[in-house]
């Protein structure tokens, strides 16, 4: 779905992404920070678990985009952000029927993330050895979302009436 969308709208997307980039670069530093933050992403990733499992992880002090955007150059970051942002917005407005049941990091995302792990953890992973597998998360499965959807509230008695509140889905 995602690929198809990209194909169909490549030009459109490029233009919009650039536009968004320009627009965004004009806004304040504070807005930029907000756009990287758990609070912002959480607006849509109401698949709560990505957020909740993140929030009780060892990385909860980070911004989502410390991992999810490339940090090599500011331009690359904005471009990626624009593209990702636009696809996300597309899915959440026009393309809601196409949203997958289980959101999975794309191959591209995985590469970006891996670079970010490496760059933060440069000192510990390069001093002797730490590169056994293709990606960091093949071992660090639970950093930072890997605890699955089963956050702590599953281990408590249910709240009466909660299912009723969720009756329309969440």
């Amino acid at each position: 779905m995602f690929k198809k969308f990209l194909k169909m709208n490549k030009k459109f997307l490029l233009v919009v992404a650039l536009l968004v980039g320009v627009l965004i670069s004009l806004t304040t530093v504070k807005t930029m920070a907000y756009l990287d933050s758990p609070g912002f992403c959480q607006n849509c990733h109401t698949m709560k678990n990505v957020y909740t499992s993140f929030m009780d992880s060892t990385h909860s002090d980070l911004q989502c985009n410390d991992c999810h955007l490339p940090h090599k150059s500011e331009v690359g970051k904005l471009f990626f952000k624009g593209r990702a942002g636009m696809t996300h917005v597309y899915f959440n407005s026009l393309g809601t029927d196409d949203i997958p049941n289980v959101i999975e990091a794309s191959d591209r995302t995985m590469k970006v993330i891996n670079e970010n792990c490496k760059s933060c953890h440069k000192s510990t992973i390069t001093n002797v050895s730490h590169d056994a597998k293709e990606s960091c998360v093949s071992c660090h499965k639970t950093v930072p979302h890997g605890k699955g959807f089963k956050d702590d509230h599953y281990n408590k008695p249910p709240q009466s009436g909660e299912l009723l509140e969720n009756k329309g889905g969440f």
Partner: protein
């Protein structure tokens, strides 16, 4: 405590569905919860997977368990026994199955209909033993029963999950489980554990009872039947028509098997796999109410936790686990079959009673330990190691019967090669019979005459 006061608060008022606490019709929930209701309607779909799925097929077919008409001979399970399918068919299927006779009891109705909790409330312990055809079924129809439905798992007013079949908590308590404050995670398996469990009918009042006091493992349940159930007067489900053995019939122990297996031990619940969150109607997420093979919904069912794995490969892994299980099951059933016929021959050769009894005890064990695996519906996936262990114990026990019989038969001068050939012949006759209902009749012949007393008409399982 905070929890319980919150409970009271919401139960007391504010938010409820507006439905009556006694609502048992699924359709009453339709307009309030259209997404879940539509999802529930998917249970009508029928599609098979390699080892599971939802097509109503006889278990006697060649690629399933073709020796069953021999192994259950003398019992109604040798007449008709099908693969299970969606919850929506529960009433239709019990209504039509040949295992229901004029002597069947109310207990049979327990896991099929939304009317049950209320009936139990009204009738008390008389419910269990009441006549299925003349009393229970008509009463259920009159009450407007649905096949397994919302009210079986939800409180119709608050939609809170609840356990509606009393046997479940009763049995957990004998096992020492504190049932007063289950977690959300517990409830996501408890609602299934009301029905997807091994059970028997208590000797005194036919009450549905789960044999868990000693534990969930096949050997622990066997021990329960040998001691506790026996002391209370329950000795057998039926007598084998081949070996004259007083037998136990095992039934759908998904809850027990899962709880002792890979995922259960890791605190994964039934709903995690069989009721995954899914996105419907745009971006709304609901709990799927299509109880079916998770192999049809790998992405939502397994992807949530195994996102790091290639799901096609993960499916191959499941099939590999199942294939090992199914072929071991077939072998165990084959040895078990031989053990029945060896004992048949002991009887017709006039071997001493005591020896026959000993051999029958092994036949009974042999069958229990494969049946508890065969009756479980995941083809080994819910507990790969445990199921294989049970098949190992089965084979060991059946072989002990064979060893014992061999000694006595040879002493009586029986021609053992001929015996083995006759076993092959009779198996072939059963396999060759095309009419599933008549297969059982081919399991006895002049060489292997029927051994059971006249078939008991009250079906105990």
């Amino acid at each position: 405590s905070k929890d319980s006061s919150e409970k009271t608060a919401s139960a007391a008022g504010a938010k409820t569905t507006g439905l009556s606490a006694d609502e048992i019709s699924n359709e009453a929930f339709k307009d309030l919860f259209p997404l879940q209701y539509n999802s529930y309607k998917k249970n009508e779909k029928m599609e098979d997977t390699t080892n599971g799925g939802s097509v109503k097929r006889s278990k006697f077919e060649a690629d399933k368990e073709p020796l069953l008409p021999i192994l259950f001979n003398g019992y109604a399970f040798a007449t008709e026994y099908n693969e299970e399918r969606g919850h929506t068919y529960a009433l239709e299927d019990i209504r039509n199955v040949k295992r229901i006779t004029d002597k069947s009891v109310g207990s049979c109705y327990t896991c099929k209909s939304t009317a049950v909790p209320q009936m139990i409330e009204e009738m008390g312990d008389d419910y269990w033993g009441a006549n299925f055809n003349t009393e229970i079924w008509p009463k259920g129809e009159e009450m407007g029963h649905s096949p397994i439905g919302c009210s079986d798992c939800h409180d119709p007013k608050t939609m809170d999950l609840r356990v509606t079949r009393p046997s479940f908590y009763k049995a957990l308590e004998t096992k020492g489980v504190d049932t007063s404050n289950p977690t959300k995670n517990d409830m996501r398996s408890y609602v299934c554990g009301q029905c997807h469990v091994e059970y028997y009918f208590a000797a005194d009042n036919s009450e549905v009872t789960f044999p868990w006091t000693k534990g969930f493992k096949p050997e622990e349940m066997y021990e329960y039947y040998k001691t506790i159930a026996k002391e209370k007067g329950f000795e057998k489900d039926w007598v084998s028509n081949i070996s004259g053995t007083p037998m136990l019939k095992a039934q759908h122990p998904e809850y027990e098997t899962h709880s002792s297996g890979t995922h259960g031990k890791a605190n994964v619940s039934c709903a995690d796999c069989h009721m995954p969150y899914e996105r419907v109607d745009g971006k709304r997420k609901i709990t799927s109410h299509w109880w079916t093979s998770p192999l049809k919904t790998m992405q939502t069912s397994c992807g949530q936790c195994h996102g790091d794995r290639d799901l096609d490969k993960l499916k191959d892994r499941v099939l590999e686990i199942q294939e090992a299980n199914v072929s071991a099951l077939h072998e165990a059933q084959d040895v078990s079959t031989s053990s029945h016929y060896y004992v048949n021959k002991m009887i017709t050769s006039g071997v001493n009673e005591e020896k026959i009894k000993q051999a029958q005890e092994f036949v009974r064990q042999g069958q229990w330990f494969w049946d508890i695996v065969a009756a479980e519906n995941s083809a080994g996936f819910h507990n790969p190691q445990g199921s294989m262990d049970s098949l190992r114990i089965s084979s060991e026990a059946s072989n002990k019967a064979i060893r014992l019989a061999t000694e006595e038969l040879v002493k009586k001068g029986v021609n053992m090669d001929e015996l083995d050939q006759e076993i092959e012949k009779v198996k072939k006759a059963v396999l060759d019979e095309k009419d599933n209902e008549k297969k059982k009749d081919k399991a006895v012949n002049s060489y292997f005459p029927a051994q059971a007393p006249v078939v008991p008409t009250v079906l105990k399982k």
